[in-house]
């Protein structure tokens, strides 16, 4: 399959990435600034999220309503989100609308008003969202797991912590945006029916004269405790497990991710077959690979009624323990087939591709071609996956359970 990728770097450090997707009418653009939740700072968990929300509340000559009305009135689907590493603004639209969208995003990123009189509304919005997550037991279990498993502050919840969000002042927001919403470390990715040269010219005109400060580094601290029970009045108990695996930029991440897919990736995976299909213990059970730039985790999850939660945990741990030395070629073939097929199908969505090429650049400093990515899956074999597993047996698990009663966790989870 022919694939055309583009990249360019502006003098101030902004990286531009592009991919032509012939056959699509749409174009998707995503701006990833390095103002992620990792920079929230002590006692300010949620600052990146509140700042992202504030950036939409007036920018340049536009009010908050102007921004939404012009974007939506032009049929542009917009989104804003904050992850550990980035604060992102994205839009997907019919290709001809891109010239309308770009100046709006330039205002949001370069000229946010961050008005005093919007802070309370924005804060309440963030607090409402936080209250909503309190009612989502699976989300709470996974959030606690990331918080304990990753070294501080990498696992802190980007949506914030209520007490911290209450304490944030407008000066915190302004300082944060000035310090972290900067060109160096920023990625602008575009995919779909694009005219690359025209895109670069427009972005250069809108962002080229943006002076740069160096993005600041974050001190990485310690991990939390290994085992935690979170009391919650629910019928189901939610179980979340994690252990460390190599991050995406390591070559071995493909072996790690394939091993995890054998464990809990598809409906023929070990966990789905054993926990759900054979024993009927739960509705959802899975294992997957989650990566930050320098750390990554294997993450397993299941939710099941309290009376069967202990058995579910025991079976999950047994399956994790059994994995090294037992992977069959047919299993690995299925994993490879699923991964490759998903990669090809991703080409049908401009938004998915814009996100993917930005992610690749952030992790690798380059964008791998689809052909190279597919070749990496082709090169995987039982010996390479087993070799990696033998040297990296799952160990040091972090285990979170959330429900009415705590579960018994083996003292040393060799798993």
């Amino acid at each position: 399959m022919k694939q055309t990728l583009h990249s360019a770097t502006l003098d101030n450090g902004i990286v531009l990435l592009g991919e032509d997707l012939p056959g699509l009418e749409s174009v998707a653009v995503a701006f990833h600034t390095p103002a992620g939740a990792v920079h929230d700072g002590p006692g300010r968990c949620g600052l990146a999220t509140l700042s992202g929300e504030m950036m939409l509340r007036g920018a340049g000559d536009r009010t908050s309503r102007d921004i939404v009305e012009v974007l939506e009135g032009s049929g542009i689907q917009w989104a804003q989100s904050v992850s550990t590493s980035h604060s992102s603004f994205a839009g997907a639209m019919v290709a001809r609308q891109l010239p309308i969208a770009l100046p709006i995003y330039a205002d949001i990123l370069r000229r946010p008003r961050l008005p005093d009189d919007e802070l309370e509304n924005a804060r309440q919005m963030v607090l409402q969202n936080l209250a909503g997550t309190e009612d989502d037991p699976a989300h709470r279990a996974m959030s606690a797991l990331r918080q304990l498993h990753y070294p501080h502050p990498l696992g802190m919840p980007s949506e914030g912590i209520s007490a911290d969000v209450e304490a944030i002042g407008v000066d915190d927001v302004r300082t944060f945006v000035r310090a972290h919403g900067v060109p160096r470390g920023m990625i602008i990715a575009v995919a779909g029916r694009i005219d690359w040269d025209d895109f670069v010219t427009r972005v250069e005109a809108l962002f080229g004269d943006w002076g740069t400060d160096d993005a600041s580094a974050v001190a990485i601290g310690n991990r939390g405790e290994r085992i935690r029970f979170v009391p919650h009045d629910s019928q189901q108990t939610h179980i979340a497990l994690a252990w460390s695996v190599p991050p995406y930029r390591h070559d071995e991440s493909y072996e790690a991710s394939a091993a995890l897919s054998v464990l809990g990736g598809g409906s023929s995976s070990r966990l789905f077959s054993e926990v759900r299909e054979r024993r009927g213990l739960c509705y959802s059970v899975s294992a997957g690979y989650h990566t930050l730039r320098d750390y990554a985790s294997a993450i397993c999850y299941s939710g099941t009624s309290a009376a069967r939660a202990q058995e579910t945990l025991d079976v999950m741990l047994a399956e994790i323990d059994r994995l090294p030395g037992t992977i069959e070629e047919a299993e690995l073939d299925r994993v490879k087939s699923r991964a490759k097929s998903a990669l090809v199908m991703q080409q049908e969505s401009s938004a998915a591709r814009a996100a993917w090429i930005a992610r690749q650049w952030y992790h690798l400093g380059t964008v791998r071609s689809l052909a190279e990515e597919l070749a990496r899956y082709d090169r995987l074999n039982v010996a390479s996956v087993e070799g990696w597993l033998a040297a990296n047996r799952p160990a040091g698990l972090t285990i979170v359970s959330l429900g009415k009663e705590p579960l018994e966790v083996p003292r040393e989870v060799s798993a």
């Binding site: 509304n121 409402q128 409906s267 299909e277 994993v335 097929s341």
Partner: protein, 423 residues
């Protein structure tokens, strides 16, 4: 993009929307059956059966089905709603024949009793999972009250009791009656080889025995046409209060359904709408939204609110005022045009994804026997006028009517419950 259709002698419809530039092929069997087609003794069987279809046939085990889908690299799943049960897979085009054959064979499941007993446990877990999640049953309760004696009142999952007491024979009988070929549509979208699709259908489905299917439409008996009702479900440990409100709207065969979707966007889309600016932007509500949903013989506007419990009553009043204001003062041209463009933009983006198109093309044919291209829908949206939206507001007012259910920490207020029972 072209549309193709062929009907097998036993009544099975085979349809495809072919997109030359697509990289994937999506295939789905859409069975015209769902919760509304169940009796009391069958409550939850459509969805339970959807699970059992993955448990294998007389010559395919459940493991074999799962392995085959994964081996094809398929993204395969199924869903059950009030009116449809669908089984679908997205694959690379070279897997079309294999994926179609597997799905087709699954439509004739073994329904073994021991699998049935094990899967029953999974269904019960799924019911518990949803019961632990917002809106804590408010949606099902609201639908029950709103639809009253109409078959759409029935919830899709069933209840713990209805599932526990169901014997396997009920499912076998339901399957035999409802999975008749004339009650099923085989639909494909994307990079489709239609000739191969039809010959797969002949090979695997041609021998299915046709049975007469009773009509599905029911005389409308919506309690919401009377005075408004309010019910409470108390969940003391919930943080927010969740409200679901349903009021009447145009049905699936009504030409006003597109205008209704535009009206819902203006009033209550999740961003940029009247409810959004009044309650979400200001941080009063976590969510305050409205959407239009249509069925074969009924339609509704569903309003959802989540907020601090002590604000729930006030915000429900505010929502009613927003609806009343729209009806009494009308909408302005600017917001009308903004939302029409927004809807059109959304349609174009969804329309270019064949994996997504399957869920428009398949159900549309299953419900109406019609095909509508993305261009047809876009033309309809672009031709909508402000008068169309005002007409919908006049025909189906959203204020001062409807069934509302609150779920959350608010204590049970006996006067409210009595009021609603008296309706």
């Amino acid at each position: 993009m072209k549309f193709l259709h062929e009907r097998l002698p036993n009544g099975l419809d085979v349809i495809a929307e072919v997109t030359d530039t697509a990289l994937s092929t999506s295939i789905g069997f859409f069975v015209k059956t769902g919760a509304r087609d169940e009796t009391d003794a069958e409550w939850g069987v459509s969805h339970f059966l959807e699970h059992m279809v993955f448990k294998g046939t007389n010559d395919l085990s459940a493991d074999e089905i799962n392995r085959r889908f994964d081996w094809m690299g398929a993204s395969a799943n199924a869903f059950t709603s009030e009116e449809d049960t669908a089984y679908h897979a997205a694959v690379l085009p070279e897997q079309q024949i294999e994926a179609t054959a597997l799905l087709a064979r699954m439509m004739r499941p073994a329904l073994r009793e021991d699998d049935f007993d094990t899967e029953k446990l999974v269904i019960l877990e799924e019911i518990r999972m949803y019961d632990d999640q917002p809106p804590f049953g408010a949606d099902d309760r609201c639908r029950a009250t709103f639809f009253g004696h109409h078959p759409l009142a029935r919830s899709v999952l069933g209840t713990v009791e209805s599932i526990e007491r169901m014997p396997v024979e009920v499912m076998r009988d339901y399957h035999r009656r409802r999975y008749s070929p004339a009650n099923i549509v085989l639909c494909a979208t994307g990079a489709v080889d239609f000739e191969a699709l039809v010959s797969s259908a002949r090979e695997w489905c041609g021998h299915w025995e046709p049975l007469a299917i009773p009509p599905r439409r029911a005389p409308l008996d919506l309690r919401a046409s009377h005075a408004p009702t309010l019910e409470l479900i108390t969940r003391p440990t919930s943080t927010l209060e969740y409200a679901v409100k349903m009021s009447r709207g145009p049905a699936g065969d009504d030409d006003d359904r597109f205008a209704a979707k535009l009206l819902a966007a203006i009033l209550g889309d999740t961003s940029g709408s009247r409810l959004y600016w009044a309650m979400v932007d200001t941080g009063r509500a976590e969510q305050a939204s409205c959407h239009h949903q249509d069925f074969l013989d009924a339609g509704m506007f569903a309003t959802q609110l989540s907020c601090d419990p002590e604000d729930a009553e006030e915000l429900l009043g505010m929502i009613d005022e927003v609806y009343r204001g729209a009806a009494e003062q009308g909408l302005d041209r600017r917001e009308f045009e903004q939302n029409r463009n927004k809807l059109a933009g959304r349609w174009v983006l969804l329309g270019e994804r064949p994996r997504r198109r399957l869920f428009d093309v398949g159900p549309e044919w299953a419900h109406s026997g019609d095909y509508r291209s993305v261009a047809d829908d876009l033309r309809t949206i672009e031709n909508l006028s402000l008068e169309d939206v005002h007409r919908v507001l006049a025909r189906w007012p959203l204020h001062g009517t409807g069934s509302t259910v609150l779920a959350g920490p608010l204590p049970l207020d006996p006067s409210l419950e009595t009021a609603s029972e008296a309706q």
